[in-house]
């Protein structure tokens, strides 16, 4: 039915059957490449999606999925040398699961049906489990356990929410058609109390997947223990599925005439997430968990943006792109540094610019990129968010937004420069040997950085149109 | 004319210290040194050799000369009643004040040259107290400017006596005492180095440079005396001759006043000096406010 989904799943099965541990990783870039090409072709020539289709490459999918696909492709390239470094671990499950995640992500992004959306998200959650405990350490299992239970609870809540939404449609006299189109069409016919209940449950449920505070608790553990690419895919891909889910549901709630309540909650939870993330960033002493907190902050930004009406959502889609690409850079370079340093803690990492100069340089540049320093993508998208806030008269929101950005900047720079600057510890000196900064480990993060730069400076018109189309889909009657 | 003006400043300046000493002597019932004593000292010093500290550089000798030139130029800018100023232009008042600062810079720099404890002490006191006296001086000049609506000395120094004049006179007199190191701020002829400001800076000088410093000091005193007189008396409204007389009389009066202050006041403890200077500032400020309001009304 849909190549974007079938292809990776087929790839996953093939990879699972593939005998050779050394050549198996090549599945990732290969499938990724094809996926990217397909995505871009669909982006260039959008297919017509029949309104009652359950799965389809509709404008919203077109606006986000290519970013995920691009991120996955680059991560795939990085995975090859990475997994070669990790010959000691059999990577059959890892590669297969990674490909399955891609397929399910594509499904989730294209899901136009409440149930399908939920199934895809749940499936992604489960498929990511082997990726998390790939390192096979007790810490990894603990992280996985928390990821699974917190995430599972969240997902359970979102299922409950889906049922509530469905029941609101039934109660409003619908035939229980759970496609978003049908629900939105029913509009004011949906029964208010059930819609509100549904919104609460779905926001919290998918918010858990997104990692909005206070449902973020699994994130630092998972990102801290997972390898760089997994972190990148989780932060760049899985979160964006949850976000598009929230966007789709929000438009249904809005069509039911409860948009005000929805926006209010999005704004509140977004600001809370940003503030909490900023506080965490100010104190954390672990540069991989730092990335998790930074991701929480950016989820907060997305949720704030989503609450700011059409211009805000446009900015949010922009930010999904810039955030995913930049986060990819950070996760991979941080992975290199972590590997060279042998520890993620500030207590025993220092002066890495002398040990792994290239990765350190990319890490620092990525830091400035993610903290909205021009001329990288996040700067422009966050400026758009700010503009949307001011345009829609949320001056206080804008002020809080900037304040959180400032403190987040303090925290991030504090950690990153502690890692990069100074004299390296004798223990870490050996790190240079432990990790050779081969082309394969440096080029991918660099490529993402360049992409983020290009995205910011010369935002391609085709993407802008895609975002505009997606906004039009989400706000049918402006 | 130019020659006469320069002669007046250079030749008459050393009279003032002599007069002051005479006044003090009279008050103390002594005969005291002759009025021309300073001239004799200057001539003698001019012929003496120089002992230069091993730590000092040529700047130690050059600085006094620069200071003297600065003071001379400052004096050149000050109008002598009917004779007007040697050079007058918009904002010359600022140049005058900053020339005094230049002179201070040079003397203080020279004082630091020898690395003597007293040089440093004197310089520190000089430059620190100058902060207050300069503020007072500026307040005074501002009030003159506001009162006369002009920013060039010639016009500023022919004011019509207003309500603020007395305050201004008192303030400027305090500044005069402070800037020229007279009791109660400093004792020019003490021999307890710890209590000195100006002398402490000159301790290590000898021969011609010392002569230049002494003469410069006397010229500065004359400058302030003229400034004070001209700021108070409505010289502009008098006939030239009368004006000249009034100016001379005023200067004489000021000098005697200094002498009397020297004889009847005691040196303040250094921690009280800022108080007195602040009073000077306040007096000038009040005169400024009077001038400001006077105009507004």
């Amino acid at each position: 039915m849909n190549a974007l989904i079938i292809l990776p799943l087929a790839g996953a099965i093939l990879a699972a059957l593939w005998p050779d541990n050394r050549t198996r990783p090549w599945f990732l870039p290969a499938v990724g490449l094809v996926h990217v090409v397909l995505c871009l072709r669909l982006l260039a020539s959008p297919p017509v999606v029949s309104p009652e289709a359950w799965i389809g490459f509709d404008p919203l999918a077109a606006a986000v999925l290519p970013a995920v696909s691009l991120l996955f492709f680059v991560c795939g390239i990085y995975a090859v040398p990475y997994l070669r470094m990790r010959q000691e671990r059999p990577n059959r499950v890892f590669v297969a699961a990674l490909l399955a995640v891609l397929g399910l992500l594509s499904a989730g992004h294209q899901a136009r049906h409440l149930g399908i959306l939920w199934i895809a998200t749940e499936a992604v959650t489960l498929a990511a489990v082997p990726l998390l405990h790939f390192n096979n350490t007790p810490r990894a299992f603990e992280a996985t356990w928390k990821y699974l239970l917190v995430g599972g609870t969240g997902i359970a809540l979102s299922l409950l929410g889906s049922f509530c939404l469905g029941y609101s449609s039934l109660h409003g006299g619908g035939e229980g058609d759970l496609t978003f189109v049908a629900l939105a069409a029913q509009g004011a016919g949906l029964s208010r109390p059930w819609v509100l209940a549904a919104w609460v449950l779905l926001l919290v449920g998918y918010g858990t997947k997104m990692g909005l505070a206070p449902m973020h608790t699994w994130k630092p553990d998972a990102y801290g223990e997972a390898s760089g690419i997994v972190g990148a895919i989780l932060a760049g891909g899985v979160t964006s599925v949850a976000f598009t889910a929230i966007l789709r549901i929000r438009s249904v709630v809005a069509s039911a005439g409860e948009g005000g309540a929805a926006d209010r909650t999005l704004l509140a939870i977004g600001l809370f997430s940003m503030a909490a993330a900023a506080l965490f960033l100010l104190g954390t002493r672990d540069f991989k968990r730092m990335l998790a907190y930074s991701s929480i902050e950016h989820m907060g930004i997305l949720s704030i943006a989503a609450s700011l009406g059409a211009p805000g959502v446009w900015a949010a889609l922009f930010h999904v792109w810039s955030n995913s690409l930049t986060k990819g850079t950070l996760f991979m370079s941080a992975g290199n540094i972590r590997r060279a340093a042998g520890s993620p803690s500030l207590d025993d990492v220092r002066g890495m610019s002398h040990v792994v100069p290239r990765s350190a340089a990319i890490f620092v540049t990525g830091l400035f990129a993610i903290t909205a320093c021009p001329p990288f993508g996040p700067f422009f998208s966050e400026l758009k968010v700010l503009g949307a806030a001011i345009q829609t008269g949320h001056s206080l929101t804008a002020a809080g937004f900037l304040a959180c950005l400032l403190f987040a900047f303090f925290g991030l720079t504090r950690v990153v420069f502690a890692v990069v600057d100074g004299r390296p510890r004798p223990a870490a000196q050996a790190g240079g040997k432990r990790l050779r900064e081969s082309f394969g480990l440096i080029a991918p993060p660099l490529a993402l950085l360049v992409l983020s730069l290009w995205l910011g400076l010369f935002t391609p018109a085709i993407l802008q149109d895609a975002w505009t189309a997606a906004v039009a889909q989400l706000f049918p009657n402006p | 004319m130019m020659i006469v003006r320069i002669f007046l400043w250079v030749a008459l300046a050393p009279l003032l210290p002599g007069l002051i000493n005479k006044v003090k002597a009279w008050v103390a019932g002594r005969r005291g040194p002759p009025v021309l004593q300073l001239y004799y000292d200057l001539i003698r010093l001019w012929q003496k050799g120089v002992v230069l500290s091993t730590l000092a550089s040529p700047a130690f000798v050059v600085a006094p000369a620069v200071a003297w030139v600065a003071l001379a130029c400052a004096a050149f800018l000050v109008p002598l009643g009917p004779a007007g100023a040697g050079l007058s232009f918009r904002g010359d008042v600022l140049l005058m004040v900053y020339l005094l600062a230049l002179a201070r810079f040079c003397t203080a720099w020279a004082a630091m040259e020898t690395g003597s404890a007293f040089g440093g002490m004197g310089a520190a006191r000089e430059v620190s107290y100058a902060v207050l006296s300069e503020a007072a001086l500026f307040a005074a000049m501002l009030s003159l400017a506001v009162q006369t609506g002009s920013v060039s000395l010639v016009a500023m120094l022919s004011p019509t006596p207003g309500a603020g004049t007395l305050l201004l006179a008192a303030g400027l007199f305090i500044v005069l005492l402070a800037e020229n190191c007279h009791v109660p701020f400093d004792d020019p002829n003490t021999h307890l180095e710890l209590t000195m400001i100006h002398e402490a800076m000159a301790l290590d000088h000898s021969g011609p440079p010392l002569a230049v410093i002494l003469h410069g000091a006397s010229m500065k005193l004359l400058l302030f005396a003229v400034l004070l007189t001209a700021a108070v008396l409505p010289l502009g409204s008098l006939s030239p001759l009368a004006a000249a007389g009034a100016l001379a009389g005023g200067v004489l009066l000021v000098t005697i006043g200094v002498g009397l202050a020297e004889s009847f006041l005691a040196r303040f403890a250094f921690r009280h000096v800022p108080l007195l200077l602040t009073m000077g500032i306040l007096l000038c400020l009040f005169s400024l406010l009077v001038a400001w309001k006077g105009g507004a009304a």
Binding site: L149, L157, T208, P214, M215, T217, P220, A261, F280, G283, P374, G387, I390, T413, F417, D421, G422 | G49, V50, V51, S57, A59, V61, V66, V69, A70, C73, L87, F89, G91, L94, L95, Y98, L99, A101, L102, F105, W109, T114, G115, S116, A117, F118, A123, A124, R125, V127, S128, V131, L137, F138, A145, V146, G149, L203, D204, G207, P208, W292, G295
Partner: protein, 644 residues
Amino acid sequence: MSGALVFSALCLLAAMGTSAGSARASFAFTMAGTLVGLLAALGVLLGPDDWEWTGAFLVGGERMHLRLDGVGAIFLVPVCVIGAAGAAYARAYWPDSDFPGAAARGRAWWNALILCMGLVLTISNGLHFLIAWEAFALCGYFLITLDNRRPEVRKAGWLYLASSHAGTLALMAFFTLLAAHTGTWELGPVRDVPPALFWLALFGFGMKAGFFPCHIWLPSAHANAPSHVSAVMSGVAIKMGVYGIVRFGGWLPVPAEAGQVVIGLGAASAVLGIAFAMAQNDLKRLLAYCSVENIGVILIGLGAAQMARTHGNAAWGQLAIAGALLHVWNHALFKSLLFFGAGSVLHATGTREMSRLGGLGRAMPWTAGLFALGAAAVCGLPPLNGFVGEWLIYLGLFDAATTRAGFAWAVLPAAILLASAGALALAAFIKAGGMIFLGAARTKPAAQAHECGAGMLAPMGVLAAACAVIGLAPGLVWPAIARAAGSWNPAWAHAEKSPFATLGPAQAALAALAAAAGFLLWKKSRANGLRRGLTWDCGYRSPAPRMQYTSGSFAGIVAGWFFRTFGSERKFRRPHGPFPEGSILLERIPETVLERWVEPAGAAITRLSHAALSLQHGRLQAYILYLVVGLAAVGALVFLEGKP
């Protein structure tokens, strides 16, 4: 014109490119770029019309739009001059032999910094301005932390980065609001925007300009950076903040009280800045605080001009703004000169603490002489350039006072405070010069100091010459300044004839007389017989270096006046008993604003963040509880508040 600017930009890029490869080539490119840029700036200043260029392609969705008018050009001049001088100085001061790697990085960032500052001055599109601004700030950070193995350098660098980013975020808000009101990112004179925006700009740019109390980052950054970097940061970089305030003070409709506020900030910065400078023992900190003072001086002029402008473009406003702009040049020149001098001292003795120096004048006479000249200039003494600029500002203030207009009251305290700031500056620099170059050496390194090479003296000489020229022939610069003032406020475009007609010759005469008198007195003393002997010092047999006044004791009186303001920390044990012993007086002047206001706030936030982190304690049960709490909170938000 376009050709020249493009060429200079390309040269700077080339200099960045070759910075790692060949120091010589990089230097050549830097010189070429800066000099051509300088010519271009002068071309605009002396020519009648502005330079403008609009690119065809979009960057960040906006059309490239560059413009160089009088205001931009007046700031571009010091960028180029100090850019060149600093590059030259660095060749001898930070050679590759001593700083492998770092020196090359230094060259790259140096040229990047100059380029970015040039862009900031020419760009006239809000979005691109933000980009160039942040890039410029980051270049500054990497220059300050060139020697990032030293923890204090990292600390200073981070403080700079943090405060600079705070400013940048304010600017983001400012430009976004501006764009929201005008409907375009294009910059230019605007009418219908709320004047309150000016405050945002004032804060945003003020964080960079470093006026009181936004100066928290300035002392440590300037003290710990390599001296040529301190020179450019202090002489030029903080002027970018001033540029922003000048620029948008000219373009935006400012609040009625803007002039008074700016004057107030200026006066406070002037007095407090120099008071702190006076109290410092670290030479480079002293210079850094002195920069705070000079920014204050500039702001006083600017504020007066702003005031004149809001009240019918009174003519004295032109004098004030002209003085402010001229002081921008002057401060760039003599402050860089002084920082170079400080660098030479540091290079020769390895310490910045004045109480460990002394008597360097004999070992390094050239440095001493140039430093003295710079000191005299920074004190605003005639016949040097410092006086000319302050004279213009004073003239503006006095003229304003003579109008007796009700709104002009602010100039009275401003003038008086400016005067006392000048006197304090004199005190501070007598102290600095005396402690470092005069008297006897206080420590061994000071005694073994050596004169620095021509490579470091030459740039200082050039800057000193510039100071002297502007001082002796101010008429030369008047056209440029007047042009800038005119393009800041079109109402003043008709440049009145130079106010320096008499002052210039007077200064020249003064210089000549002083030189002659000095020469004659020296001759006369020689003729009378010049005997070398121990310092008499009231007859001490063998004056020891320890008997000299120290930096602390010199500043004692002033520090006493400001004791409460500084919040000085003092440890004092009086000598007592017939045979007193072990008496001690320790006084520490804190970074008052930083240590008394900012750091406590920071500590509170840090405590908060640790409290928050303790919630991330790793117990899954609690995590699920948070989830339930979140659910309840969202529910409450929806259902309780949600009822229409």
